[in-house]
Symmetry: C2
Subunit: 290 residues, 2 copies
């Protein structure tokens, strides 16, 4: 997805929120904010909002000397999600449609996004989980079920810490030997890294790789050669969250975008109301021509 003009004020607000979240030092806050303004003033709108996020968070880490400023909230939300896991697992297994129930909970888990909301409370996660069980899904669950059943290799692009515990519920409903989960190569906001995949227990049940990048989402040119090869070869990609949508939505792949639409611009780009549970299928162009 390109950067819309409407993204820019939000990018600036997120830059200030992020630096205030990470440090109380006003000189650093001011420097990060000015740098974000300067970068945004010269931004190529054909790039994705995630590319600006990558620059800003690199600068925050550099100026604060903290290589992983969101480590504490990542652990907090991993713990909170793991505490909910047994009850949610029970709910999935006793459901008439375990795949759909697990999908709903995985979408709800996408609310744990400190890029969009640096003030998230655990109570908001609980409310989102409850709502997700009954809110209509914007997308075709049957097409998703068939695609998962038919794919020889599935690449699951994870999004945030905490959220990946809910992804585990969904992955447990898939043919695990065909699934590879992708986490970030190094810390960026509260995105899941290998440590979070281990905490969530994902590494015990499926292959987990990292993408070699410190960008939000998967900006392909910033990822490792190995990731790009796996991405090119995958039969089916399941892409979690807004950052992955922003960066992968124009790739010529068979992708299901699975996310909660938390911002107006992305909701408009997806053609759904704000707050929707999204399951959007992008097919590769060659299959359209077939």
């Amino acid at each position: 997805m390109r950067t819309y003009l409407g993204c820019i004020p939000c990018i600036i607000r997120q830059a200030l929120d992020a630096t205030c979240f990470v440090t109380d030092d006003e000189a650093i806050q001011e420097r990060v904010l000015r740098e974000a303004l300067r970068a945004a003033s010269e931004l190529d709108l054909r790039t994705t909002p995630a590319a600006v996020g990558q620059q800003i968070h690199r600068l925050i880490r550099q100026l604060t000397g903290n290589p992983d400023p969101y480590r504490e909230v990542k652990e907090q939300f991993n713990r909170a999600a793991l505490a909910l896991y047994p009850e949610m697992k029970q709910r999935v297994e006793s459901s008439p449609d375990p795949l759909e129930t697990a999908l709903r909970l995985a979408i709800a888990g996408n609310i744990i996004d400190f890029g969009v909301n640096a003030h998230l409370e655990e109570s908001e996660v609980n409310a989102t989980l409850r709502d997700a069980l009954t809110t209509p899904i914007h997308g075709d669950v049957e097409a998703f079920r068939q695609a998962v059943a038919g794919a020889a290799t599935i690449l699951y692009l994870a999004d945030n810490a905490g959220e990946i515990v809910f992804d585990r519920l969904l992955i447990e409903q898939m043919p695990r030997e065909r699934v590879t989960v992708v986490v970030k190569g190094s810390p960026i906001i509260n995105d899941a890294t290998m440590a979070d995949a281990q905490t969530a227990g994902l590494t015990d049940i499926v292959e987990v790789i990292d993408n070699g990048s410190d960008a939000p989402g998967n900006i392909l040119e910033t990822t490792s050669e190995e990731f790009r090869r796996r991405f090119a070869q995958a039969d089916l990609v399941i892409s979690k969250g807004q950052g992955n949508y922003e960066t992968v939505s124009e790739e010529d792949k068979d992708v299901f975008f699975v996310l909660k639409a938390k911002c107006e611009v992305i909701a408009r780009d997806l053609g759904c109301p704000l707050g929707s549970l999204v399951l959007q299928h992008h097919r590769p162009e060659k299959s359209t021509l077939a």
Copy 2:
């Protein structure tokens, strides 16, 4: 008031809202937004947010070739306020405390601010008027009453079109021969100019002058010599709205700031909750020493 870091994302959002309000031309929207970002990245935080607003709105007028882009909404809200005026006048006159009732309605009228909210609906004005009759005032109404009674000359710094019809209710409760109302020298957002003062009927009941400036608020160095003389000589200044607060709050004058606190930063600077009806007294330093 200086510009806080928290003002910056809001300045950028307001710049985009303003240019989208004025034109559908995306090239102009992008140019204004980039210029706002560039100006904000180099901003001296000791200046007021209003100074950036002045630059941005000059650029919007220049690029659109429209010298008064808010003319239509100014007229719309003048008409709406004038339609309410007879009922409100009746309410003031039948009140046990006409000055306080008029003051409350004048504060409520400050909601008509297209700088803060470019999507304002008339229904929101009506709701604010209703609430203002019962919400506590953050300030000392008795001190205001005494200051008005004791001042030989009162300079009333008006804020927006529409709002000045409600200011008229308050001014009618004052010794009119001692009151001079100040409007903007030329169009800036939906701020009242001389045309609006005429429409509101203010020019029939008190002296009205303009400040010679196209800035939101009264950035003294951008105002006319005549205005600065009147400002220096006034016994008492009544300053309506956030823009006037931003630009006058550090002047060494006897000023009552009369406004609705519509943004977090100004509410914090004033020491009141967001949404408060504010009547804040700033005394000149010499009287503090006396």
